[in-house]
């Protein structure tokens, strides 16, 4: 075949896909713009199938749920009783927080998983994630998370090998923070780990700060939000009061759930990360755990209730009851929303060299 100039130019065509989070962020921005018109019927704020932050992606909850009752002076950090686990005060800076249901199936499983922790084979974790695209077709991504913190993502095996060969590292500093928080949670300092997991993604809640500093952090965050909105032409944008009480708990628990699942996805093959994530999730009052089966294997269904998602919908994460490995995730629809297909995961320990050589 004779190559012409168009074929040559076509050789510059290949680019890596945007990160899934980027699509979510873009939809969220669109959802915000649509909501601001005040004339659209939108079941979800960001995307057709579900708000981005319902899924296990790193997206903040800011601006997506209503703010609860406002108490100007009610921003003092609260020490929370946590039962007999030896866990010290929870990091909530809202007015209330509930005691983690220690002793739960999750904590027991976390202990079992941690006990199995040992030298892992390989030097990276390969997570094959299978989703259903809006057009109904399967959408598979190959995600390689190396033990050194690099992340490679592709839509085909061949592209993953190429991405490794060319070091197209997509790792975000947030990923490392979340993984570190999960590891810390497995080691025992659960409250510190909980706070670190929430704060892995920048937010304006001032978690872990004193009342004055927390308010200052919120004010700064809101000022920036208003500045951006005004740049976008929203002339009447106003700073919002800092959420308190259950409103703040909703933000924090949503962040804890989303960030923990993100860590679990990335560190699925690492027993310490799994154990830590299970312990962290066990501190969220609105998560229920049920025994179930999945493809014949004993499993646990972790259901994050509507309180974590602004009062509607939810998410069910199914994990192996013996290993804590994630099996699938599905968003539960809110009233009037369509059911969502599940995300499924396959995790394995691999070597970077094998991936680079296409041996997988």
């Amino acid at each position: 075949m004779i190559m012409d100039e168009m074929d040559l130019v076509g050789q510059l065509k290949e680019v890596p896909p945007l990160r899934p989070e980027a699509y979510e962020r873009a939809r969220t921005m669109l959802g915000t713009a649509m909501a601001q018109t005040g004339t659209m019927r939108v079941a979800a704020p960001a995307r057709k199938e579900k708000p981005g932050w319902v899924r296990n992606f790193r997206l903040g909850l800011m601006g997506k749920v209503g703010i609860g009752a406002v108490g100007a002076a009610a921003v003092a950090a609260v020490v929370v009783s946590v039962g007999t686990s030896g866990v010290s005060p929870a990091p909530s800076s809202g007015t209330t927080a509930e005691a983690p249901p220690v002793g739960s199936k999750l904590v027991s499983l976390a202990a079992d998983v941690k006990a199995t922790d040992g030298t892992l084979p390989g030097d990276a974790s390969l997570v094959i994630r299978n989703r259903t695209a809006p057009d109904g077709k399967p959408y598979i991504t190959y995600n390689l998370y190396t033990d050194k913190g690099a992340e490679y993502v592709s839509e085909t095996k061949a592209e993953l090998s190429a991405a490794v060969a060319h070091d197209d590292n997509l790792a975000d500093p947030v990923d490392a923070k979340e993984i570190a928080a999960a590891r810390d949670a497995a080691k025992g300092d659960l409250n510190k780990a909980r706070q670190d997991m929430v704060n892995a993604v920048p937010n304006g809640w001032g978690l872990g700060l004193g009342p004055a500093e927390a308010q200052a952090a919120w004010d700064k965050s809101e000022a920036e939000r208003v500045r951006i909105l005004k740049m976008k032409g929203v002339a009447d944008a106003q700073p919002r009061p800092r959420p308190t009480g259950k409103g703040m708990d909703g933000y924090i628990n949503n962040s804890l759930w989303v960030n923990s699942l993100n860590a679990l996805t990335r560190g699925a093959a690492n027993a310490q990360v799994r154990a830590g994530v299970l312990r962290l999730i066990s501190t969220i009052p609105d998560v229920t755990v049920e025994e179930t089966t999945s493809d014949g294997q004993a499993a646990l269904a972790l259901t994050a209730g509507p309180a974590i998602f602004g009062g509607t919908g939810g998410q069910v994460l199914t994990i192996n009851a013996k290993t804590g490995l994630p099996i699938s995730s599905v968003a539960k629809p809110g009233p009037g929303e369509k059911p969502m297909p599940a995300d499924t995961y396959k995790s394995a320990r691999v070597t970077v060299a094998d991936i680079k050589a296409g041996k997988f």
């Binding site: 980027a22 699509y23 659209m40």
Partner: protein, 184 residues
Amino acid sequence: MTSDAELIGKSLDGDGEAFVELICRHERAIGAYLTRRVGREAAEDLLGEVWVAAFESRSTYDRAYPEARPWLYGVALNKMRRHWRSRPAEDPVPDATSLANGWDPWSAVDARVDTQSVLRSVLARLQPEEREVLTLVAWEDLTVADAARALGMPAGTARRLLHQARTALRTAPEVAALLTNANV
């Protein structure tokens, strides 16, 4: 399947989910288009702005065209032009020299045969409109007519620009050498 034009019509009637479905259909293509032109990092920042701009201008969409992707390319191009204009003066980046930065699949190849940089250099010498038509056809798989739609120009003009661009490429000594080597 509901056409893109019908989804835009539903959106104009107040159905927000219809517009979300529209962008879900095209997000990967538009994301790749942005990445090729401004690099992945900027593309990730711009994608949301493209959707907002498309949403805000959807009333101008000519619903005689069932397929909206060329229109979305045009919206994305306008956003990228604004992005390029907003870059610091001390960092003038011609659009073609920033092609696909952040992804250099040939970085390990011997610089002496760095075809990519040769092509970038030659593309940078094209007239902007020639380059836009050429890359929409070569990279985005648009027909010349659809490229014309994206760029808001008559199809005949796009055909002329593509012809000029291809001629300029073929006659560039560097490209000629590459083609000679490739077709030996």
